[in-house]
Symmetry: C2
Subunit: 121 residues, 2 copies
């Protein structure tokens, strides 16, 4: 199986869509409500407009986010989750619950590994 074949696997396609840490947060934030670009940027403190634009384009391209332009002056552009994107929310909630439930174990394990680390075979 080549790398290209693997990309055809649904789970890998999905990870490619949401893998970026910012993307998960964009999906989460738009899960609250429809937002304009500026609102979204303020909600995601630390994200640059360039990075946010790229994330939104990717998410839009994958059908997880929809972009609606209202014919006003100046034009109002709003972003929201599509039905597809909305269906990811409960799964992300479970990942969040897993991480929260295991955060102590995750941190202590990482500390152990730092001291125990031996070369991989």
């Amino acid at each position: 199986m080549t790398y290209e074949t693997k990309l055809a696997c649904p789970i890998q396609r999905t990870m490619a869509m949401i893998a970026d840490k910012w993307k998960v947060v964009v999906i989460y934030t738009l899960g609250q409500r429809t937002m304009r670009f500026g609102e979204l940027q303020r909600a995601l403190e630390g994200i640059t407009p360039k990075v946010l634009t790229r994330q939104l384009r990717d998410l839009e391209g994958d059908g997880l986010v929809s972009r609606r332009v209202h014919a006003e002056i100046p034009p109002r552009v709003e972003y929201s989750l599509t039905t597809l994107g909305r269906e990811l929310l409960p799964i992300l909630d479970e990942l969040h619950a897993w991480a929260t439930r295991n955060s102590v174990a995750l941190i202590s394990r990482r500390e152990e590994q730092k001291t125990e680390r031996t070369p991989a075979a």
Copy 2:
């Protein structure tokens, strides 16, 4: 909230752990059974030893995979999922189901976007 603060968010930490497309497949494959490095590499056709070594070290560092060295000549090294890693399997299954259920919609949407794409605001 700074980027560092965001990294402290459990869901972002989790995504950082499993975001790589190979990692998901490594977790899936080790979900079947304990494997030696060579078996795992053969199961994941297309992965280079260097990439697989890095993925396994990361997953081990995050406590999702355990590495066991058996004192034989030559030493036998086996990788398996930890309890923590095993708990991710049902969540990855749901992501897989979401992607499979929506694969037609995902592909057609992507095609639409390719033709409709307008500059982001």
